[in-house]
């Protein structure tokens, strides 16, 4: 009996040591080649390439919104007699494509897993787009899989501007199961904020300016509050996303 107990103890200690070695090795990237090999197979299983009609419609709608934004930017640039009339995003940016593997929404967090990882050049903190719409930021990277924190996550913070020129901060919402909602906060009372205002990135968070985020759907604050707050409907619908683009380092 005592020998058997000793055997359990030895096995327990052995497995604990193996687990701790695995954790340490993973953080230092010792297993990256092995892990990359396995994750290639996992990703092939988890990525679903078939699109439903709803997803196709949603993608087309996203494209229309992107095109509208592109048109507006071009008009603005024409008016200002600028020379660069092409895309709203700087051409020197490098994009890393990735298929969406899964969407996970909890009470205080919302994130996507995408099939693009460290071997593709993805790093923590990189912005993630769908067309010209900001989806979120990379928070964790393995060789083949990235974890992307969505804008609707309560831990997310992005500096933004509205179409009327007001500046603010987009933060996540505590509303459960709403990965397409967020809050615009910290807008000064003196600045204009109305329902229907478009929200774009201001370019203060190491991500390009003028990326679409969403539209103000409901004003939450009152005139006596120090800052204005409003609910926004995000343009990027995480449930319908199939493919995303991670903004890599400039070329």
């Amino acid at each position: 009996m005592s020998r058997q107990r000793n055997q359990y103890w030895q096995l327990f200690v052995f497995l604990v040591v193996v687990s701790l070695t695995l954790i340490l090795g993973d953080q230092r990237g010792w297993w990256n080649s092995f892990r990359g090999l396995i994750e290639t197979r996992i990703v092939a299983r988890r990525v679903n390439h078939t699109e439903t009609d709803k997803q196709k419609i949603s993608q087309l709608e996203s494209k229309i919104t992107s095109l509208e934004n592109t048109t507006k930017n071009l008009e603005d640039e024409n008016t200002a007699l600028r020379k660069q009339l092409e895309a709203p995003l700087p051409p020197k940016l490098h994009f890393i494509p990735g298929y969406v593997i899964s969407l996970e929404v909890t009470a205080d967090d919302a994130f996507l897993k995408a099939a693009a990882g460290g071997t593709d050049g993805v790093k923590k903190g990189m912005g993630v787009l769908s067309e010209t719409m900001l989806v979120g930021f990379v928070t964790d990277v393995t060789p083949r899989i990235s974890t992307i924190q969505l804008l609707s996550s309560s831990k997310s913070r992005v500096s933004v501007a509205t179409s009327n020129g007001a500046k603010g901060l987009v933060v996540g919402t505590d509303e459960k199961d709403r990965p397409d909602m967020a809050i615009i906060d910290r807008v000064l009372q003196t600045e204009p904020l109305t329902v229907g205002d478009k929200i774009i990135t201001s370019g203060e968070d190491d991500i390009p300016p003028n990326l679409l985020i969403g539209e103000v759907s409901e004003i939450l604050s009152e005139s006596r509050d120090p800052f204005q707050r409003a609910k926004i409907t995000l343009y990027a619908k995480p449930r319908d996303l199939k493919r995303i683009f991670i903004i890599g380092n400039e070329q």
Binding site: Y8, G25, R35, K113
Partner: protein, 125 residues
């Protein structure tokens, strides 16, 4: 979260060596599938399995009350560690209660149906 309940049930009713190795393999597979740090789930499952093993040596680990309590405590601890100094997600903990009850109910029903008659003892004529 759900895996913790399975690990606890398996540890309570199964052989300790098999449970330890099973918990380790389950943890590795989960980490690979979820794209998490390799070994982190295996480590936590091994701790839970060994904890149940120690409890089993002195007390009855087959009772529904113990399994429920052990599952709940484990989930709360894992959520506390996962929160990493931030606020604990009460919603997730509350959501785990019906989940644990459901899994345990199914487990005990299946066990009742599959249990051999007369406690598995051969009846002498």
């Amino acid at each position: 979260m759900i895996f913790f309940v399975y690990v606890i049930i398996f540890s309570a009713f199964g052989n300790t060596v098999v449970s330890l190795i099973g918990a380790f393999i389950l943890g590795i597979l989960k980490d690979l599938w979820e794209g998490q740090t390799l070994g982190i789930s295996a480590f936590s499952y091994i701790l839970v399995t060994y904890g149940i093993h120690l409890y089993k040596r002195k007390f009855n680990a087959h009772s529904a009350g113990f399994l429920f309590f052990a599952s709940l405590v484990t989930i709360i601890l894992s959520e506390l560690i996962g929160a990493n100094g931030k606020e604990l997600s009460i919603g997730r903990v509350l959501w785990s209660v019906p989940l644990i009850v459901a899994i345990l109910t199914v487990w005990f029903i299946v066990r009742k149906i599959w249990a051999p008659p007369y406690g598995g003892k051969k009846l002498s004529v």
